[in-house]
């Protein structure tokens, strides 16, 4: 169980550090991977051994997805009031994100397996991993794409809003949640409570829409771009 202990210690240490160094690049998951992977390679420990000891954490991922229903429920009154703009933004954003992400990847020579891992990059990690597996991708690679898309919004999001002149909390929040899922939502909540509420809403709705649409959309994108 030494590697389970290592995961826990390194993760919570990274999270503790990220509270003091307030920078989006200091992401606990990212730090954790950057320490554990070189460590395993250096000590010649195969991934299978590591995973076997950490499988209980993995079992908890599915209940965690179910738990996302709770913040969605808490936003129920917001959804009722502005459902048109929320629904349109999330639907457009989800489809556009899948088509442009997978389309660019295919045009640059990525194979279908890699493309299937890139396609769900803008939704929260457990959903992205489930979606990529469903359409023939690799969950571990999907998780990394999710981090890249998340860091994009967390690092560049607010500078871009200022540059383009976007001010309404609903616009900032929905955009952050649609593009950069949980990482963007954390940043939005830090900037403004209302931004954060709309962002978490977009995070969950886009996750659901992407998982519903991806299996139908992916073969279509493959046909068009290859």
């Amino acid at each position: 169980m030494i590697w389970l202990a290592a995961t826990l210690v390194i993760f919570y240490l990274a999270r503790y550090i990220s509270k003091y160094i307030q920078h989006p690049v200091v992401n606990p998951l990212l730090i954790c991977l950057l320490i554990i992977i070189p460590l395993l390679i250096w000590l010649n420990v195969p991934y299978e051994t590591y995973f076997e000891q950490n499988k209980w954490l993995n079992y908890l991922l599915e209940p965690a997805v179910v738990a996302l229903a709770f913040p969605l429920y808490e936003q129920l009154s917001q959804i009722r009031q502005k459902w048109k703009i929320i629904f349109t933004a999330c639907l457009t954003g989800s489809v556009l994100s899948m088509v442009t992400g997978a389309g660019i990847a295919l045009s640059l020579g990525a194979d279908p397996q890699l493309t299937a891992s890139i396609l769900p990059k803008s939704v929260t990690t457990p959903i992205a991993m489930a979606v990529s597996e469903q359409i023939g991708g690799v969950p571990a690679i999907a998780a990394i794409m999710v981090i890249i898309a998340g860091l994009f919004g967390a690092v560049l999001g607010y500078p871009l809003f200022r540059l383009v002149g976007i001010e309404a909390p609903i616009a900032k929040g929905l955009t952050m949640g649609t593009v950069s899922h949980a990482l963007g939502t954390a940043k939005a909540a830090e900037e403004n409570y209302q931004d954060g509420a709309f962002s978490s809403l977009a995070l969950v709705i886009c996750g659901v829409m992407t998982s519903l649409l991806a299996p139908a959309l992916f073969p279509l994108i493959l046909k068009i771009f290859s």
């Binding site: 997805v65 179910v66 556009l96 640059l108 998982s211």
Partner: protein, 112 residues
């Protein structure tokens, strides 16, 4: 007790979600169906929100930790990643920028 009750509710939703997925052979993950189920149950007031609250909050607060075991799986794909650095970076960042600008500008003008 609050944790036990809320975690049981989550597991029941997950189990039913997986069962529905298995029977209907839908392409949607069972966990997503379970989430929609819990959302419907809460929205309709079939169970009080406080029954589900504790474990939901706990799981969401520590969610990032649960990604670590699968994320480390990357070590088996380092060759694939380094061989495809350009398509990976351009597609993830380029696509994020496009969606960001389109949704940001569109919702901004819609709200005005």
């Amino acid at each position: 007790m609050a944790y036990l009750r809320s975690f049981s509710i989550i597991l029941v939703c997950l189990f039913i979600g997986k069962a529905i997925q298995h029977v209907t052979q839908l392409a949607i993950p069972g966990s997503i169906i379970g989430m929609l189920l819990l959302f419907v149950v809460l929205s309709m007031g079939l169970i009080p929100a406080c029954w589900a609250k504790e474990s939901c909050h706990l799981l969401i607060r520590h969610m990032a930790l649960l990604f670590v075991p699968v994320g480390v799986g990357l070590m088996n794909y380092l060759d694939l990643l380094s061989a495809n650095t350009l398509p990976i970076l351009l597609s993830t960042i380029g696509s994020s920028l496009i969606v960001f600008l389109v949704i940001g500008v569109a919702t901004h003008y819609k709200e005005k």
